[in-house]
């Protein structure tokens, strides 16, 4: 019973394998039906796959769809192949088991049959032997009854023979059975051998199948090798790429870092800048807000104001409109008036032009006449002058006589006749007395040379000519400055001539030349120049304390200069600190000169006609002359005279008062008489009676 047992184990393991596979039909099958089936299945599988893919398994990627289908096909084929192999393999292996099973069944059936036969045989044998045995035993009974030894012996012999037969039968059976057993043993050995052969076959088949395994292993190893090679190549490539990539990445990272740092810095700077900007802007915003608010308020206020103003302005506008209308009317009126006036003035103008023409004509005539008269006037003047002089001299001689009389007669004093230059003068004072600027210059310069000792005791006469406000020193200094600075005005020839001369002379000549160039002709002009210098300095220099203090009195004194002030006025003038010419900068000289020249020319042009007359006659000395004549009698004498006169006057007044009173008295007497006559007349008129209150009643009639 062991061999089947061992087979059973194998079979069990086979069963495990049978349970696993689920095998479909193969398209490579020989059977067309199966092929059709396989194709159908394949189509179904593909449809299924497509459906699944459509359901959402497109994660695998569509680019590999073709590959996938290919691999899928391959897989399907392999699967089917494998399934077939598995089925066939298991069938092949289990076939042996099944064969063994059926053999076992057959053996069992046979065994049973043989067993049954053997049992039958044995039973028959037992029956026959039992019969024989019974026969023998029966014979034993018979034998007991037999008394005859011969018979007994016979019987015994027969018995023995029977027994021997029985035993022989039995032995035969035994040998038969033993033979059978031997055969069975042989059979068993054969079976064993067969089964071992089966097992060997089984093992062979399994080994065969194991060959698949080996082949698979080989395939696997080959594929693995290939795969590994490919993988290695892939890995190498990958590594290469990776290295490249890493390099690149590093580069990029470096760049990135650089960029980042740079950006960072930039960002920071920008940020700081922007923040500053933001702060500034915020501040500005705040300010703007504040201003905005302020402005808003202002604007609101303004708006309000403007509203009001607008209202006002509308009111005003209407007013203005009205006014405009009014003014339009006025304008129209005025226009008409203006037109009228224009016409009128045109007419007037015409008349005036005609008048003017006439007047010009008249003026020309007048000029003619004037020239004529001037000549006549000169003559007359001379005549009058001579006449007046004569008269004055008469009067003087009379005054001297009176004075002599007063002195001698009234006062009892000795009298001496005074001797004056003007007393000897006959006729009008000639032009020669007019000093030229050069003369003044000479004077000034000479004076300067004798400075110091003569300073205080300078002659008043020479200064009479000079403007009171300017000291000689100042003038000199200014002139020196002028001389130094205006060398261009002097001709070069002159300069060469001047070289060997004395310094003062040199100045003199130079100044002469300069004055002639500047057009300074008179003494006045010279002083004007000096004044101008000073004034200019005062005006144009920065208002320093000193200068103002210097100039202001000059200005104050300016008007006084024209008044021909007395000696009394002159005294404080001298006390003024002399204006220092140092204050005039040499550079300013030309400017001053230019200004002066332009300024001098104007008044000169303007004064041209006046000059004309003045040229004819300078009567400046005349008044002095005449005044001097008036002062022939000195003040003491006059005072004496005045005192005498007042005494006489008093005396005379008394006398005249007496006389006046006498005259008044007489006139009053006459008036009284006249008034009495008039009153009498009024009182006598009728009207008095008609009045309710007659004046007669009011008035008391004076009773004479």
């Amino acid at each position: 019973m062991n061999p089947p047992g061992s087979l059973g184990v194998l079979e069990e393991k086979e069963e495990e394998h049978l349970a696993t596979p689920v095998i479909g039909p193969s398209i490579h099958s020989d059977n067309p039906q199966e092929r059709i089936q396989a194709r159908r299945l394949r189509i179904a599988a593909r449809l299924e796959a497509r459906r699944r893919e459509a359901l959402g398994e497109y994660l695998d990627g569509k680019e590999s769809e073709e590959d996938q289908s290919k691999s899928y096909k391959q897989k399907e084929e392999s699967r089917l192949k494998l399934a077939k192999l598995l089925l066939c393999g298991t069938e092949l292996v289990t076939n042996i088991q099944v064969a063994a099973d059926i053999r076992e069944i057959h053996r069992r059936v046979e065994e049973e049959e043989i067993k049954r036969q053997r049992l039958e045989k044995l039973e028959n044998e037992v029956k026959t032997s039992q019969d024989k045995f019974e026969e023998i035993t029966m014979k034993w009974e018979e034998g007991k009854q037999k008394r005859i030894p011969q018979e007994l012996w016979e019987m015994l012999n027969a018995q023995q023979v029977h027994c021997a037969g029985l035993i022989e039968d039995k032995n035969k059976l035994i040998s038969e059975l033993q033979q059978e057993l031997k055969a069975k043993d042989d059979q068993y050995v054969k079976d064993l051998k067969k089964q071992s052969g089966d097992i060997c076959l089984l093992l062979e088949r399994m080994e065969e199948q194991k060959a698949f395994e080996v082949e698979r292993e080989e395939l696997l190893t080959n594929n693995k090798k290939k795969w590994e090679q490919a993988l290695q190549a892939h890995n190498a490539k990958e590594l290469e790429y990776l290295m490249n990539r890493i390099k690149k990445v590093e580069d990029h990272e470096k760049q990135l870092n650089k960029q980042r740092i740079w950006d960072c810095e930039e960002y920071n700077t920008i940020k700081i800048k922007l923040e500053q900007d933001v702060q500034i802007l915020e501040q500005q915003l705040q300010q703007m807000k504040a201003t905005y608010q302020l402005n808003q308020e202002k604007l609101e206020y303004n708006f309000q104001v403007l509203k009001k103003r607008d209202e006002e302005s509308t009111v005003i506008k209407s007013q203005q409109k009205r006014k405009i209308n009014c003014l339009h009317d006025v304008l129209n009126n005025l226009r008409s008036k203006y037109n009228k006036q224009v016409k009128q003035f045109q007419e007037e103008n015409q008349s005036l032009t005609s008048d003017y023409k006439r007047l010009v004509m008249q003026f020309k005539e007048m000029q003619k006449a004037m020239r004529h008269f001037a000549l006549i006037d000169d003559k007359q003047f001379r005549e009058i002058w001579l006449m007046n002089e004569e008269e004055v001299k008469d009067l003087i001689s009379r005054a001297f006589d009176v004075d002599r009389i007063i002195h001698t007669h009234h006062l009892g004093l000795p009298w001496t006749a005074p001797d004056f230059w003007f007393l000897k003068n006959v006729g009008p004072i000639s032009q020669q007395q007019q000093k030229s600027p050069t003369q003044i210059l000479e004077e000034v310069l000479m004076e300067a040379e004798e400075e110091g000792a003569e300073e205080a005791a300078s002659e008043p006469e020479s200064y009479l000519d000079l403007p009171k406000q300017v000291s000689a020193k100042t003038t000199r200094k200014i002139l020196m400055l002028l001389c130094d600075e205006s060398g261009f005005l002097v001709e070069s020839k002159l300069l060469s001539l001047l070289l060997p001369l004395d310094k003062s002379e040199c100045y003199l000549l130079k100044l002469d030349a300069i004055f002639s160039a500047l057009g300074i002709e008179s003494e006045d002009d010279l002083y004007k120049l000096v004044n101008f210098f000073l004034k200019y300095q005062a005006h144009h220099s920065p208002p320093s304390q000193e200068r103002t203090s210097l100039v202001s009195p000059l200005e104050k004194l300016d008007p006084q200069g024209e008044k021909e002030g007395s000696l009394v006025d002159r005294e404080p003038q001298e006390k003024q600190p002399p204006p220092s010419p140092r204050l005039i900068h040499p550079n300013d000289v030309l400017k001053i000169l230019e200004a002066f020249v332009t300024g001098l020319r104007k008044p000169r042009d303007f004064r041209a006609p006046v000059k004309l007359l003045k040229v004819v006659r300078d009567d400046s000395k005349d008044s002095a002359y005449w005044k001097a004549l008036t002062t022939v009698i000195p003040a003491t004498t006059l005072n004496l005279w005045d005192a005498l006169y007042t005494a006489l006057e008093k005396y005379h007044l008394v006398l005249t008062q007496r006389a006046e009173l006498l005259i008044e008295n007489s006139s009053l007497e006459r008036q009284n008489t006249e008034l009495q006559q008039l009153l009498q007349q009024y009182l006598d008129s009728k009207i008095n009676s008609e009045l309710q209150v007659p004046p007669t009643q009011v008035f008391r009639v004076p009773t004479k």
Binding site: E12, A19, P21, G24, E34, L82, V98, A99, I105
Partner: protein
């Protein structure tokens, strides 16, 4: 011993700081206890930690010897600073070396544990390692060292379990009652109780008898002889062992002797009543048992009944395999009873002597059963009566998927009924009717039945006298069913390809 071994490794710390040159000789120097000595040399400079705790150097003479050695080694050209191992290495090596006496493992950090385990010898006594070491690689080494062929897959994928199961199996295989000390196995029990899930023993040695060799001659009637000497041929009593294994799930036993050769005796293959009773008691006591196999052990009706009685209402049992025994109708009836009183899923009575009555009783039980998935009655003799009864039962059964009726003298009537079953039943996936006399008509009827069936995947009709045409058509139908089943399996969850089934490699083993 332990003290002297630990101190050198500790002294390494202090000495290594003074001079690295002396690393190699630290142990010896420490022994000589000349602390001030700067240079001393060891015998093996390249592997200092392997130095055995030096030969006692307490004596002055040994000190002189050390000095001599020192002089020699100081000029050793092979010596190199680079080989000086780390202190941790030294410690680990020391631990490995003394593991048997002082197993230190759990206290170490994981990486050091790994190192220690890698260096441990597989020969260490199980008493030390069994409950301490969980590391698979260690047990793998143990297994590989002891058995050239061992399949971890057959032992739940755990090397430790593999080792203990194989170890136990080995012990049981070579246990000779009344000669071997039973303590050998029982001593192992506390060590392996947590790791053994399966006991597979294909040989139980009988007690050694001196008389048997004396009795020469051919003893054809061994049966009577076995009965006579029954008390003497009892095998190892599994009771204590099974009771001690708390995780035992599978028992696979064969009461027989392997490789007996020409020493064959019938009584070598005796499964005595005492064996039977003790086994029955052990099985009954084992509540975790799921699979029980007792094959090729001459289990007859009575013994089968004894065993099955003990298995009635067993809580965990799922598979019962009594194939290749001598079980007849009574035993089958007992099995049928068991079907009603357990949650058995697989029943294997292949190659027994079950006939029609036994099959009928099984069929009766099957008709009302809802647990059994697989029934194997191969190489019995149930004949058409039994076959018809089973076919009738299958008309109502909704659970059975695999039915093996190969070699059962079945014929056309059974085939007729089965074809009806095929058109109704939707659970059966595999039927084996090989080696029967079904005949061409029966084949046609089965083909008719197959045409309505969509679930059957395997239908073995080899050597059953049916026409080739119908066999082929049945094969076509099966293919269609298989493809449909594959699609069904694929659609809910991908990658369950049947093509990945393992190749035919197991049968060889």
């Amino acid at each position: 011993m332990e003290e002297t071994q630990i101190t050198p490794s500790l002294s390494v710390r202090s000495w290594s700081s003074i001079s690295t040159q002396d690393q190699s000789s630290i142990s010896t120097q420490d022994q000589s206890s000349t602390a001030g000595q700067a240079s001393s040399t060891g015998p093996q400079p390249s592997k200092p930690s392997v130095i055995p705790p030096p030969v006692k150097s307490k004596g002055p003479s040994s000190g002189a010897g050390v000095r001599r050695m020192r002089r020699i080694i100081a000029e050793d050209a092979e010596w190199s600073v680079a080989i000086v191992p780390l202190l941790t290495e030294l410690c680990i090596q020391h631990i490995v070396k003394n593991f048997q006496n002082n197993p230190i493992l759990k206290q170490l950090p994981p990486e050091h544990q790994k190192k220690v385990l890698n260096h441990l010898s597989p020969d260490l006594p199980l008493a030390v390692t069994a409950n301490l070491i969980e590391d698979e690689s260690y047990w793998r080494r143990c297994c590989m060292q002891r058995w050239p062929v061992c399949h971890m897959d057959e032992h739940g994928g755990s090397w430790k379990r593999t080792f203990f199961e194989l170890h136990l199996e080995n012990l049981l295989k070579h246990f000779i009652p009344s000669t071997t000390d039973p303590e050998v196995i029982l001593n192992l029990l506390p060590l392996c109780r947590n790791y053994v899930h399966t006991i597979r023993v294909d040989q139980f040695l009988p007690p050694v008898h001196l008389p048997p060799p004396l009795r020469g001659g051919d003893q054809s009637d061994s049966g009577s002889e076995g009965e006579m000497e029954e008390p003497a041929t009892d095998h190892y009593q599994l009771g204590d062992l099974v009771a001690g294994l708390s995780h035992l799930e599978e028992l696979d036993l064969v009461y027989g002797v392997k490789d007996c050769g020409m020493n064959f005796e019938w009584n070598l293959f005796l499964f005595t009543y005492r064996d039977c009773h003790s086994l029955a008691a052990a099985v009954k006591a084992c509540h975790t048992l799921k699979i029980f196999r007792l094959t090729r052990s001459k289990v007859d009706d009575d013994k089968a009944r004894i065993l099955i009685c003990s298995l009635l209402d067993h809580a965990a049992l799922e598979e019962l395999d009594l194939s290749h025994n001598l079980i007849g109708d009574r035993g089958a009836r007992a099995a049928a009873k068991l079907l009603g009183h357990s949650r058995l899923r697989v029943l294997n009575l292949a190659n027994n002597q079950v006939r029609a009555p036994g099959a009928q009783s099984l069929a009766h039980a099957l008709a009302h059963n809802s647990d059994l998935v697989s029934l194997n009655l191969r190489l019995n003799c149930i004949e058409d009566e039994g076959g018809q009864a089973l076919a009738h039962a299958l008309q109502t059964n909704k659970c059975l998927t695999t039915l093996h009726l190969g070699g059962n003298e079945l014929s056309e009537p059974t085939a007729t009924l089965l074809s009806q079953v095929l058109s109704i039943n939707t659970t059966l996936t595999s039927i084996n009717l090989s080696c029967n006399r079904i005949g061409p008509d029966g084949g046609k009827q089965l083909l008719e039945g197959m045409s309505d069936n969509k679930t059957l995947l395997e239908f073995d009709l080899r050597l059953s006298d049916i026409a080739q045409e119908s066999e082929y058509l049945i094969g076509q139908a099966l293919c269609a069913n298989r493809e449909a089943a594959r699609q069904r399996a694929l659609s809910p969850s991908h990658f369950m390809s049947p093509a990945t089934a393992k190749g035919p490699e197991n049968p060889v083993g």
